[in-house]
C-alpha cells in the first residue's frame, strides 16, 4: 500500500499582489462548501499545467486554520528559478480551475510547548501566518521575530503587528536591525519550543546558536523545503519499469520519472518528507544532492537519491524505479 494524498479541485477566487515580489492566491472548492480542515504549518502541493509542462510545487497554507471556506498561499517570484513561481505570477488568473493536494503538515507545532518562539526570514513567514492564527484562537503563548530586507518587502509585517501587537518583532536588514539571537534564546522559560523558517543560512544559524545555548534538538523545529534547481540535462534508466528517461534542464528527476508514467509516492517535493527516496542500482558520475532527508553518509554512499530535488551529472545512472 503506498501513501500519498488525495487531490482537491479548486477555483482561483482571487489574486492579490502584496508587494513587488510576492503575490497571494485564494482557492475555493469548485463544488462549493468547505475545504478540509488543516493545522498550522501545513502545505499543499499545487499542480501547474503550463502547456506541455506540469510542475508540482509545495506552498505553505497561510490562511487561518479556523476558516476553511478558502485556502490562501503566498508565492514569491523567483526570476532565476525553473518557472513555477513565474507561472503563478503571470498565468494564474481569478476563475482558473486548479488541482491541489490535501494539506500535509511536516512543520507541526509541538503543542506541549509552554511557549512557542518563532523566527522567520523573508517568505518563510507563511507557515507562521497560519500557526499564529491557530495559537491566538486557543490562547497559546507565542512570540514571533521576523527579519526582512526592506520595509517595502516586509510581507505581512504590518498585518501581523496589527493582529498581535507586542508579540511581533520586526527587523529591517537595510536599517541594520538584527535579531539578538543569543540574548533571545537565553531568556526563554523552560519548556519553550523554537521554530524557524527562512533561507538556508538563517536556519543553519538559528539551529547552531540554539545547540550552543543548550537547546535540545527536540525543541528546535525548522522547515526548509528546497526548490528543485535547474541543471545540465541527463539520462536515467529505470530498472523496475524498464524505461529510459531524459531529465531536461528545467525539469526535476521526479518530474521526468512521472512524465514517463511511473508514480513514486511524494508529500513535499522539497527534499524533506522522504517519500520518494529511491535506490541507486548503479552509476558512473556524480550526484548533486539537495535534500534534507538523507544523512550525509547516505549522500556519500551513492546508493540513494531523492529525485524531487537532487540531480546527477555523469555517464550513466540506473535507478530502482
Amino acid at each position: 500500500m503506498s501513501t500519498g494524498t488525495t487531490k482537491l479541485d479548486v477555483a482561483v477566487a482571487d489574486v492579490v499582489p502584496v508587494n513587488e515580489l510576492v503575490t497571494r492566491f485564494h482557492f475555493r472548492p469548485t463544488n462549493g462548501g468547505l475545504l478540509p480542515t488543516f493545522s498550522g504549518g501545513a502545505h499543499v502541493v499545487v499542480e501547474m499545467r503550463d502547456g506541455d509542462t506540469t510542475r508540482l510545487n509545495p506552498y505553505s497554507l497561510m490562511s487561518s486554520p479556523l476558516d476553511t471556506s478558502e485556502y490562501t498561499i503566498s508565492v514569491r517570484r523567483d526570476d532565476a528559478g525553473r518557472g513555477g513561481s513565474l507561472f503563478m505570477h503571470r498565468a494564474v488568473k481569478p476563475g482558473d480551475r486548479m488541482v491541489i493536494s490535501y494539506p500535509v503538515n511536516l512543520f507541526s507545532l509541538d503543542l506541549r510547548a509552554k511557549k512557542h518562539l518563532m523566527i522567520a526570514g523573508g517568505i518563510g513567514i507563511t507557515p507562521f501566518m497560519a500557526q499564529t492564527a491557530q495559537l491566538a484562537a486557543t490562547s497559546g503563548n507565542f512570540e514571533l521575530h521576523y527579519a526582512c530586507r526592506t520595509a517595502s518587502l516586509f510581507t505581512y509585517g504590518d498585518v501581523l503587528a496589527e493582529r498581535y501587537g507586542r508579540r511581533i518583532h520586526l527587523y529591517h536588514d537595510d536599517r541594520g536591525e538584527k535579531i539578538e539571537l543569543t540574548r533571545l534564546l537565553s531568556s526563554q522559560p523552560l519548556g519553550t519550543h523554537l521554530y524557524v523558517c527562512g533561507p538556508a543560512p538563517m536556519i543553519d544559524w538559528v539551529r547552531r546558536t540554539a545547540a550552543e545555548a543548550g537547546w535540545p534538538p527536540e525543541t528546535v523545529h525548522f522547515e526548509h523545503f528546497s526548490a528543485p534547481q535547474p541543471g545540465v540535462p541527463f539520462d536515467v534508466e529505470l530498472a523496475v519499469s524498464g524505461k529510459t528517461i531524459h531529465v531536461g534542464e528545467q525539469q526535476s528527476l521526479l518530474e521526468a520519472i512521472e512524465a514517463a508514467g511511473v508514480d513514486p509516492p511524494y508529500l513535499c517535493r522539497g527534499g524533506v518528507c522522504g517519500q520518494c527516496e529511491t535506490n541507486v542500482v548503479s552509476c558512473d558520475g556524480k550526484f548533486l544532492h539537495n535534500d534534507h532527508w538523507l544523512t550525509e553518509e547516505e549522500h556519500r554512499s551513492g546508493k540513494k537519491i531523492m529525485p524531487c530535488v537532487s540531480r546527477f551529472e555523469g555517464r550513466s545512472l540506473v535507478l530502482e524505479r
Binding site: S186, A213, W215
Partner: protein, 199 residues
C-alpha cells in the same frame, strides 16, 4: 525467574557535560560517583554555573566532601528523594532554556526527578542519566495503582492492596515506575516463592 528485557525498560548512559548555561545535577547514594567522574571531563568553568542536589541515603558522609570540592554554585543535601522533590519542582518552574539536567543513582531517583522534569516541559531524551548503586525498583500495582518503593524481590507484595505482583520490565516514565501485575490471578491458591532479583 528470568524475565527477558523489553524496549520500554529504560536504558541509562554515562553522564557527560552538555552545552548549556545552567547545569542541574541530581544524585542519590553511589550516583555521587557518577558526578565525580563527569567532573574529570567537564570544562573548567562547568561547576561555576552548576547546582548539585544530593541525597546520601546509606552512603552517609562518603561523597559529601568530594562533591563540595567541585565548588558548584549551589549545593543542597537532602534527607530523602521525597523531601527534595518540592525544591526541584520550584527550581524547574523558574528556570530558562539552556538548563541541562543530569541524573545519577538509583532508578527511583532518576525516575522521580525525570517525572518532575517532564512536567516542567523538558523532553526526556535531553536528560543525561546514569544508573549507579541499588537496582531496587519502584513498582506500580496495576490493580490498586499504589506505588511500592525499593522492591527487590520477584514476585513482590503490593504494600497497598497486598496482591502478589509479577514485576515486569515494562516501565512508565510518567509514573516513574515498573508495572506490577497479579501473578496468581488464574489460580489464587498458587503462591510462588519470592526471590531476591533487584539488588
Amino acid at each position: 525467574m528470568a524475565v527477558k528485557s523489553i524496549i520500554s525498560r529504560p536504558v541509562y548512559g554515562t553522564l557527560s557535560p552538555q552545552p548549556g548555561s545552567d547545569h542541574l545535577l541530581i544524585a542519590d547514594a553511589e550516583g555521587a560517583a557518577a558526578i565525580l567522574d563527569l567532573a574529570k571531563s567537564a570544562p573548567a568553568d562547568f561547576f561555576a554555573e552548576a547546582e548539585i542536589v544530593f541525597i546520601p541515603r546509606d552512603t552517609g558522609e562518603t561523597y559529601i566532601a568530594a562533591l563540595k570540592a567541585l565548588k558548584p554554585a549551589r549545593f543542597y543535601e537532602g534527607p530523602s528523594i521525597a523531601a527534595a522533590l518540592p525544591r526541584l519542582k520550584q527550581r524547574l518552574s523558574t528556570a530558562h532554556m539552556g538548563l541541562r539536567l543530569y541524573l545519577a543513582g538509583t532508578e527511583g531517583l532518576i525516575g522521580q526527578a525525570m517525572q518532575a522534569a517532564l512536567e516542567a516541559g523538558i523532553d526526556h531524551k535531553s536528560i543525561q542519566t546514569e544508573q549507579r548503586g541499588s537496582l531496587a525498583r519502584r513498582v506500580q500495582c496495576v490493580h490498586c495503582k499504589g506505588i511500592t518503593e525499593d522492591v527487590t524481590t520477584q514476585p513482590a507484595r503490593c504494600s497497598h492492596c497486598g496482591l502478589m505482583l509479577l514485576v515486569r520490565d515494562h516501565y512508565s516514565r510518567r509514573i516513574a515506575a515498573f508495572q506490577g501485575v497479579c501473578i496468581n490471578a488464574e489460580d489464587p491458591s498458587e503462591v510462588p516463592p519470592m526471590e531476591e532479583m533487584f539488588k
